[in-house]
Symmetry: C2
Subunit: 373 residues, 2 copies
């Protein structure tokens, strides 16, 4: 697994520091694991980070002692703190924060449970630090949503590999196999292509199951005439990719073929709407109005897409406007999925999904494989 080079990580830390200063914060307690990986290259199932004007304190536990030492060695700006065995991360954070008493520190309300927040607050109030922490969501995520050159190179590489996996799978005969068998083959091809793991539980939804946007892969045997939705992605160097195709098994029925063409058309319209400055909801609207033109708007029961990077669902949200919320406009370096679909309970469903990069003047496909088969 390649990790972003130290100078790149340091540049990210400096960008976040500038955002903190603009919010009049002396630092931030980071508890999102993806945000920690972004700033330090430390990938773990548990960690905590304190980032201040002049320190980057990375807290890990004994299971990660080697990688913790490695990170500090590679990146001199990182100060590692290994938790004493048996101590909780909450206690580790309190201990790390005590010397910073009185500073104005942010925390991530979206990535801290009420229980952990109470523990921290009480621990800090005990030493007379009040109010100890200020909620500040999305500071690191804002920077993460605009990928840097290193990340774009990884995502282009990952997209090309995922496209190859798709081509390999799509050339297979699916009829007669169970959904789970096909999913197993996809997962194996993802590893063969160099991915560390699947980005999410691979979906193979056939026949009536294809009408469930969140069907998984079960023991159903795929039959001639079935529509089969395949939705899968791999993680490369920590970065997620995500692709869907819908196949017709055996001779194509006319309705099946028509709906696939309509959804592909909706995806094409969404792609044409992607450019810097565009509102994410205008991309959603482009797909939605295309399907409305075909009279099947009601069958499209989810959003058009989502950002992707260190997490398989991250900013931006490419969907209808949610009451009281606005999404920032698209900007160069954002990577997102375009995945319109149409679902008809009892009959089946179609979803076509690819990943795109917002460029300086439009969009670039990160994944590409035949859409109509």
């Amino acid at each position: 697994m390649r990790i972003a080079p130290p100078d790149r990580l340091h540049a990210r830390v400096k960008d976040v520091r500038a955002s903190l200063a603009a919010r009049h914060l002396d630092g931030v307690v980071v508890t999102s694991l993806a945000n920690i990986a972004y700033l330090t290259g430390f990938f773990a199932s548990a960690a905590a980070l304190v980032l201040t004007r002049d320190e980057v304190i990375l807290i890990g536990d004994s299971r990660y002692s080697e990688s913790l030492a490695n990170r500090a060695h590679e990146c001199p700006f990182i100060r590692p703190r290994q938790l004493p065995i048996g101590d909780s991360y909450e206690q580790g954070l309190v201990d790390a924060l005590i010397p910073l008493r009185g500073a104005t520190l942010g925390f991530e309300p979206d990535h801290l449970t009420v229980r952990r927040h109470r523990y921290l607050t009480r621990g800090l109030e005990k030493i007379g630090w009040e109010p100890p922490l200020v909620g500040c969501d999305g500071v690191v995520e804002h920077h993460r949503s605009q990928k840097d050159d290193w990340e774009i190179a990884v995502l282009r590489d990952a997209g090309a590999r995922l496209s190859n996996v798709a081509k390999c799978i799509l050339s297979n005969v699916l009829g007669g196999r169970t959904e789970s068998e096909v999913a197993g083959q996809i997962d194996l091809e993802l590893r063969r292509a160099g991915f560390e793991r699947a980005a999410f539980d691979t979906i193979v939804a056939s026949g009536a199951n294809a009408a469930l946007p969140h069907g998984r892969a079960g023991q159903r045997r795929i039959e001639p005439g079935d529509l089969v939705v395949l939705d899968f992605g791999g993680v490369l160097d920590g970065y997620c990719t995500d692709l869907s195709r819908t196949l017709i098994v055996g001779p194509a029925g006319s309705r099946e073929r028509l709906v696939i063409e309509q959804v592909v058309d909706a995806q094409r319209a969404a792609f044409a709407a992607v450019r810097p400055g565009a509102a994410p909801e205008s991309v959603d609207e482009a797909a939605r109005s295309t399907l409305a033109g075909y009279g099947i708007a009601d069958a499209f029961t989810h959003g058009t897409g989502h950002g992707l990077g260190l997490e398989v669902h991250e900013a931006p949200r490419v969907s209808r406007v949610r009451a009281g919320q606005t999404e920032p406009p698209l900007g160069p370096g954002m990577t997102l999925t375009l995945e319109p679909g149409a679902y008809f309970p009892g009959w089946g469903g179609v979803r076509i999904e690819d990943d795109v990069l917002v460029t300086n003047d439009g969009a670039e496909w990160l994944t590409d494989a035949p859409r109509i088969l």
Copy 2:
């Protein structure tokens, strides 16, 4: 996927209601997805639940409309509420709670972020409901930790299947293949054995990587003389299993063989300590003191085990006592892992892990496969 029968789910709801009454609560807002699945059989990547003295309100979004309807159809005690497209779960909860205004409701501080909690609190305070929600952690988890007959049958079945996967994998020649290739084969065998998916990212850690308790599976090619830690599990009907073995590739070195025997001995000692009424830390101590007797206590850098069920890590925690915390004693129906290990940076590591059920008078292995190969 089999789901617990409606009368079983209803019995669980009644048990939780009794616990709520004992805490003088009129109900609870459940946001842990595993707790929701336990009480309703609704498995989803997003959901919320309001359980009161006489209602079970299950909130889902449009992607899950079919399964939501199915749950309500199967279980007449469940009242489904589908979120309007675009609404957040927080808003869905506020809307569902308004008619209950004035009730004393609990929430799960461990399963609610600060942001969502603030949203709920503000939404309810607006209608003059104050204090709207009371923190009450672990109410559902307490019941989940003692599996009922239906769950025990599933876990026995899952354990037998996982043991077969282990026997199949252990009979393979690993030398010359990459860690990732072996992990891919394990994942495929898990699906062949009927598991819905892997319970966690399969670990294949060879050579010096075996010294990392949380190593994953990389591109390293396995070589003669390597120790290889394999750690994998499958999910059956929503329930997780977890097993580790450590292999020596090629002719066994004497130190490699010795450490494996010592760790197997520690696991045997832990198993002998499992019985109703035993403190979880006494099970940990049994493993730890065995390794101390061999002079390698310092090489055992994690806890002896964890509960498993709908989550791969759940109560009880089988580890050293954490300052200020006590774990309840073991009771019949609890299922847990026993996974002592010994790790030597630069040399390699060993972990041996099986799943056990606490019975009325001792313990029963849920998984079993040769430990010394």
